[in-house]
């Protein structure tokens, strides 16, 4: 896990007890975790007129808060364990107490942070339901008589907007449907095999 130089500088400044008292440190950490939480009304920044921050110039506070937030994100991204976290913080000159504090806060928020990161990305939409209709084709404009079944299949997709349900519908012949079903079965078997490994 690596951080950019600016963040490392901010962390080192945060570790300095002369610049940040323990209460100020706690406040900055709390603000950093709050800014990454998913509940919408808590994106508050530490009020600069807090008595805790009286002696600290605001640009330092902002620098340290940005550094702390970046560090938290990188830690969650790499699923850091306790040993690695303490080595990294020791390199940034954190003393034991602050490392403990950080670890407890981190454990509290780890789940929600993991959910936050997991929810960023893109996947193809999920199929949640299928409805089909079997029709029988008698003739087309190109052939006088074609007696064969044709399937109209509709996949219902999950979408983030629950009011607007999207779906995919298509028409296929029996061989194509057999092909599709065969492929689905292969996929399911492959998944079973992976889970048995």
């Amino acid at each position: 896990m690596e951080l950019s130089e600016d963040s490392l500088r901010g962390l080192q400044r945060l570790a300095d007890p002369a610049q940040f008292s323990p209460r100020a440190f706690g406040a900055v950490l709390r603000a950093a975790f709050l800014s990454l939480s998913l509940s919408p009304d808590q994106a508050a920044h530490p009020a600069v007129d807090d008595t805790v921050f009286q002696h600290i110039p605001p640009c330092h506070i902002k620098e340290c808060q940005a550094a702390a937030t970046m560090f938290i994100l990188e830690a969650v991204r790499n699923t850091i364990d306790r040993a690695a976290l303490s080595t990294f913080l020791e390199d940034c000159k954190f003393d034991k107490e602050r490392t403990e504090h950080f670890w407890t806060e981190y454990q509290k928020h780890r789940e929600s942070l993991e959910i936050l990161l997991e929810n960023i990305g893109r996947t193809p939409p999920h199929v949640s339901d299928v409805s089909w209709r079997l029709a029988y084709e008698i003739k087309t404009n190109q052939l006088y008589k074609t007696h064969r079944p044709s399937y109209l299949v509709k996949f219902n997709l999950e979408s983030p907007d629950t009011s607007q349900a999207k779906d995919i519908s298509f028409n296929c012949s029996m061989e194509q449907l057999q092909d599709l079903v065969g492929k689905l079965k292969d996929a399911a078997k492959g998944l079973e095999r992976t889970s048995q490994m």
Binding site: E2, A66, H126, L157, P160, S195, M197
Partner: protein, 632 residues
């Protein structure tokens, strides 16, 4: 042998055989113990076979015989190549039993170690994690989106994801660094919003922060790579290298922009875009002085081309006309009239402007021409003036002609002398300066060579550092992996004792091999010596024989000597023969003694007795059965 036995007993105990404590070696195994051990091993190796056999020896002789044969059959099915039959179990001999038990112990499946033997390599660990995760997710039943719990959401709501949209953040930099202008510091202090308030959503904040971190890190890495490859080779300090690079890039951008703007003017593309381009160029070149002239020349050139202006005006008018709101028809008519009158005015003014500009052009041309002429005339004038001056001087000096001539001649001589003087001085100076120049050049070349050598050293050092860092990382990963592997290994068997014993045995064997080779070489030497000596003896005897025989024909005592010599030779050879025989007999004795030992270990006598007894017992049983059969 004790080691082997101890290991064997331990293995047999682990598969369930109850071996009493006082039994320390295979020699002390009695028949029941042997049978129990073998049956339990078979049960572990091959449960289907072993289940049919009981491990307790039945008292009846025929049953025992049957069990013996079935056990022998099972061992042969497993692949035991030695000779095995019911006699190995019932009338056992130590070496056979040991070999059989070793074979069975080897065949025991190492089930307890199967899991720990799984490779704990990274990819295997990852695959196992994937498998467990998938299994976990497959166990959750599918729930419709509104009913999903938090855990279900993590695996099933994966389609409702947010895009990774990174936006630029403005972060406070190093406020203690000196290269930051004070306005920026003040902005950081007062007005810069904190990171959490710059973006509305936690998702975009997370994405932007991650992006920012990675881009900073990769910028540093790229700079390092570039510095190591090109920067060091250019022998500049980092700041100089960076400034030079910036200048190079700026120049390239300017050239490209100029090229394209020239293309635009040639193709008469409407002027608004060219004007923007020109403004951009002007803004871009505001730092370079020379380029400003270029820029200004460009603007002058623009002002000279008239085709652009009416087009600009008409376009602007069109745009204005489109943006104006629609009015009523009356106003529209009045407007139209106004428009046409204004248009007329504009056209008149245009014509005037055109005429005036033409006249200005002409006037400028005439001005240029006239200036040229004046320049030429001025030059002419100067030349004439110079000639006049010379002539005047000559006229002044003319009355006092001879004196002046002499003075002039003296002046000329003096000046030629001064010239030669100066030339001499110049030569000496020049020679000195040339030497200095050559010296300096040589020093500079040396310094360059030295610096290129240092450069190479620095690059080698960088490579070594990188290699060492990679090695250290790899070793750390390996260490972590091995530690986790070691923790997962079973701790019941003390491997250290075994490995130590194995190493001791290996060193013992090595010593013994050395001893054996020494003995062999001694034997070889001895044999060579013996051969040598026998040969010598024979040759000496032949020589003395001949010598003495020659003299024996004449003298009587010599004949006696000859007889004694022959007798001596015969006796000695006899002696040697006896010694050899003694050696062979000793060897045979030793062999026989060994055979006696092995035979004694086979307990053949006691086995034979047992066999006789069992044979008698079987005979009795047979008689009993026959009797019973006859009765019924």
């Amino acid at each position: 042998m004790e080691e082997v036995d101890r290991i064997l007993i331990h293995t047999l105990r682990t598969c369930g055989t109850e071996i009493p404590e006082e039994v320390q070696s295979v020699r002390h195994f009695n028949t029941e113990l042997i049978v129990e051990a073998v049956v339990r091993c078979l049960r572990v190796i091959n449960p289907s076979v072993g289940a049919n056999l009981s491990h307790i020896l039945p008292p009846g002789m025929s049953a025992r015989f049957r069990i013996g044969t079935s056990l022998a059959q099972a061992c042969q099915d497993l692949g035991y190549t030695g000779e095995v039959g019911y006699q190995t179990f019932l009338y056992s001999s130590e070496p056979d039993i040991r070999a059989l038990l070793i074979f069975l112990a080897e065949k025991l499946p190492r089930h307890s170690q199967e899991d720990a033997d799984q490779p704990a390599g990274k990819s295997a660990v990852l695959q196992r994690e994937i498998a467990t995760k998938i299994k976990q997710q497959l166990c959750l039943p599918w729930l419709p989106p509104s009913c999903r719990t938090a855990a279900a959401k993590r695996s099933q709501s994966l389609c409702l994801l947010h895009r990774f949209h990174a936006q630029p953040l403005s972060l406070a930099g190093d406020s203690s660094s000196k290269s930051i202008p004070p306005d920026r510091k003040e902005y950081w202090e007062r007005y810069l919003p904190s990171v959490s308030t710059q973006l509305p959503h936690a998702y975009s904040l997370a994405a932007s922060l991650l992006e920012r971190n990675t881009s900073d890190l990769s910028a540093v890495q790229e700079w390092e790579a570039e510095w190591k490859s090109q920067g060091l080779a250019s022998r500049l300090s980092p700041e100089e290298y960076r400034s030079r690079k910036r200048q190079r890039l700026q120049k390239r951008i300017q050239d490209q922009l100029h090229k394209f703007s020239q293309q635009f003017t040639e193709n008469h593309i409407p002027g608004s875009s060219t004007q923007d381009l020109v403004d951009m160029l002007k803004a871009f070149t505001v730092e370079g002085g020379v380029d400003q002239n270029k820029g200004s020349r460009f603007t002058h050139a623009q002002k000279f081309t008239h085709q652009q202006d009416p087009q600009v005006l008409t376009e602007q008018m069109q745009r204005a006309a489109e943006s104006l709101p629609k009015k009523d028809t009356q106003d529209a008519e009045a407007e139209q009239q106004e428009l046409s009158s204004l248009q007329q005015q504009i056209e008149d003014m245009e014509r005037d402007i055109q005429g005036l500009s033409e006249t200005t052009k002409q006037l400028r041309l005439t001005i240029a021409q006239v200036e040229e002429e004046t320049g030429k005339l001025q030059q002419h004038c100067d030349e004439k003036e110079k000639v006049v001056k010379v002539k005047k001087r000559a006229v002044e000096l003319l009355p006092d002609a001879e004196n002046n001539l002499a003075k002039l001649q003296a002046m000329v001589d003096g000046s030629t002398q001064r010239m030669t003087n100066l030339e001499g001085q110049w030569e000496s100076h020049r020679a000195r300066l040339m030497d200095e120049y050559r010296e300096m050049k040589r020093l500079q070349q040396e310094k360059e060579d030295e610096s290129s050598r240092w450069m190479k050293d620095v690059r080698d050092l960088y490579d070594k550092i990188r290699a060492a860092a990679d090695e250290a990382r790899r070793k750390e990963e390996l260490y972590k992996q091995l530690v986790s592997e070691y923790e997962s290994l079973p701790k019941d068997v003390s491997r250290a004792a075994y490995t130590q014993r194995i190493l001791e045995i290996v060193s013992n064997i090595k010593k013994q091999k050395e001893d054996i080779t020494k003995i062999l070489s001694d034997t070889k030497d001895l044999q060579k010596e013996i051969n040598n000596l026998t040969g010598k003896v024979d040759r000496t005897f032949v020589v003395t024989d001949e010598l003495v025989f020659k003299d024996a024909k004449k003298d009587e005592p010599v004949r006696k000597v000859y007889k004694y010599l022959a007798a001596l030779h015969e006796n000695c050879s006899h002696l040697i023969q006896t010694i050899e025989d003694t050696g062979t007999i000793l060897r045979e004795i030793r062999d026989l003694e060994e055979q006696i030992e092995t035979e004694a270990a086979k307990k053949t006598l006691s086995n034979l007795q047992k066999i006789l007894e069992d044979y008698k017992a079987i005979k009795q049983e047979n008689a009993l059965l026959l009797g019973r059969m006859r009765q019924t």
